[in-house]
Symmetry: C2
Subunit: 328 residues, 2 copies
């Protein structure tokens, strides 16, 4: 029997879980089924506020519910591996919030578990599924900007770097700019240049507590294209992505939550693409449904090998910076 509705379970009831709940409401075949937290009170409050059917006071109970089809892993990312493995070992499909893991070691454990359990597994890199990127890829495939030779993007926000109550500032919670924010410009570059640069370089300034807080990264690819990426906890950046080709370029304002893209031929604006954008997570949710309905264990758009390659880039940058998390 082909399922027509999917029961979602949310593992971890923080802020990102609320955003997912809002997006699930936009997807007709998604059921806001169960919320799981380490605290019964928190799970119950989340259930009530966000309109889920069930609340569980432990991740195990959530995963033991045989009616849960897909588990969205919404814990801080240093807890993703354990949570995802728990869910997959209960036969659940998983969508894991970005960054999927802190390092490739964790990635490999997830990939192995997904394979053993024959379940669908994907990183929740929502950006990849926005409708506007379909138009961008059309422009590129039809040769409008010629050969791609450069991609640049930044994602920079202001964070209280001395406040360990802020997750991004806290090394014990896998803080730092690269993993939380830098994963976006890295994915943006990977969308157009692939995820295997032949050379990886970059600089990073560190906070007193020891997380990377101001990064500039340069990548070089086999085809002579380069990527230039910035991420920081110290300033509000432009959030703009650029794809430069030999004949023109594409500018994607706030590419991380993109609702428009601009095609330039020479210096002239030749075409604009605009698309509906609300909440945003619904596009990745639809991709999960589509893949599961087709019996796929991975998405062709965001396959595990690509997430692993990008994680490996972050591993290499951190190795270059001698940046090891306390729990690694």
């Amino acid at each position: 029997m082909v399922k027509t509705m999917y029961n979602w379970g949310i593992l971890g009831c923080g802020r990102i879980a609320v955003r997912m709940a809002e997006a699930l409401k936009l997807v007709p075949d998604a059921v806001l089924y169960a919320a799981g937290s380490r605290s019964t009170e928190k799970a119950e409050a989340f259930r009530e506020e966000n309109g889920f059917l069930k609340a569980y006071g432990s991740y195990e109970e959530l995963c033991n519910d045989e009616n849960v089809d897909i588990v969205y892993i919404a814990t801080p990312h240093n807890y993703h591996v354990d949570a995802a493995i728990l869910a997959m070992n209960h036969g659940k499909h998983v969508l894991i919030e970005k960054p999927m893991t802190v390092n490739t070691k964790g990635m490999d454990e997830i990939i192995k578990t997904a394979s053993e359990n024959k379940v669908f597994c994907m990183e929740g890199m929502w950006m990849r599924f926005f409708p506007v990127y379909e138009k961008v890829l059309d422009w590129i495939k039809s040769g409008r900007i010629g050969d791609i030779v450069s991609v640049s993007a930044d994602f920079c926000i202001t964070v209280p770097v001395d406040d360990m109550g802020c997750r991004l500032s806290n090394p014990d919670l896998a803080g730092g700019a690269l993993l939380d924010l830098g994963v976006y410009p890295l994915n943006f570059a990977a969308m157009f240049l692939g995820s295997c640069p032949k050379e990886i370089q970059g600089v990073a300034a560190f906070s007193p507590a020891g997380v990377d807080m101001n990064d500039s990264v340069s990548l070089l690819y086999e085809n002579n294209a380069a990527a230039t990426l910035q991420t920081s906890l110290l300033y509000k950046g432009s959030d703009t992505g650029y794809i430069y080709g030999t004949k023109g370029h594409i500018k994607i304002p706030h590419y991380i939550w993109a609702d428009s893209a601009e095609l330039f031929l020479g210096k002239e604006l030749a075409e604009t693409a605009e698309s509906f954008f609300e909440k945003g997570f619904q596009y990745e949710v639809s991709e999960v449904h589509r893949c599961i309905a087709q019996g796929k264990q991975e998405s062709e758009i965001m396959p595990l090998c690509e997430t692993r390659n990008i994680t490996a880039i972050m591993d290499q940058l951190r190795a270059r910076w001698n940046f090891i998390y306390p729990f690694e």
Copy 2:
């Protein structure tokens, strides 16, 4: 007797010399005095077309004319050192087109010769003297954008990289993106973060003839600020410079020939600076006159040590890329 008029001699009669001639006409106390070329015909044609008084068929004759006060070195940059030393050894002040030299070895010869002859010597980094940058520095000094934490800039143009007739494509003529174009984003970063980054990284793709044609550079400074710079021969870039601070940022459209700058506080445009801009070289010419009138041998705005530091950054990048010119 304080001079009130300065006789300019142009050494090398190519395209950049024509631009300087046009700018000199905008400076009241500049005299378009003499043009020197290795060819009498070329010098005479240049003299006539651009309104100079004298033409010389060799650089030596130009430098032997005791009425020449200042020599503008306008040869391809791999010939700058010999030409500048010739002029300075004849007691002439010199303005040397960018990049002043191919490497720090050449810079050190120039610095030594300038010092021995007690003449004024400066790199023609015209950008530094544009009026709009005074306003930009005012915004920064008055704390409008807080502490500077990031500078980014690109300078990328399309060049026929397989055509050795194109100087930028030809390794024998010190071609490549970094020296000719990259010197601008490097100077832009130096204007706001200084010229001594504590860490220098970058990637470059090379043309079949062996010049760098697609570069991405990351610099880190002692104060934790970073610079992210791009230069390329493969695509037309944005030519935009950004200075990000903890409270806001400044955007300078076409910063290399800037006539405007925009101050943003948060995401809001708070103020725009605009300034007259024609030709552009006249601002550096006026700086040369001002310094010479005051008996200075260097400009405080573009001192030799700063040019040397930036040349040293380019040396380090090229060393990292194993990029040595045939004549080095």
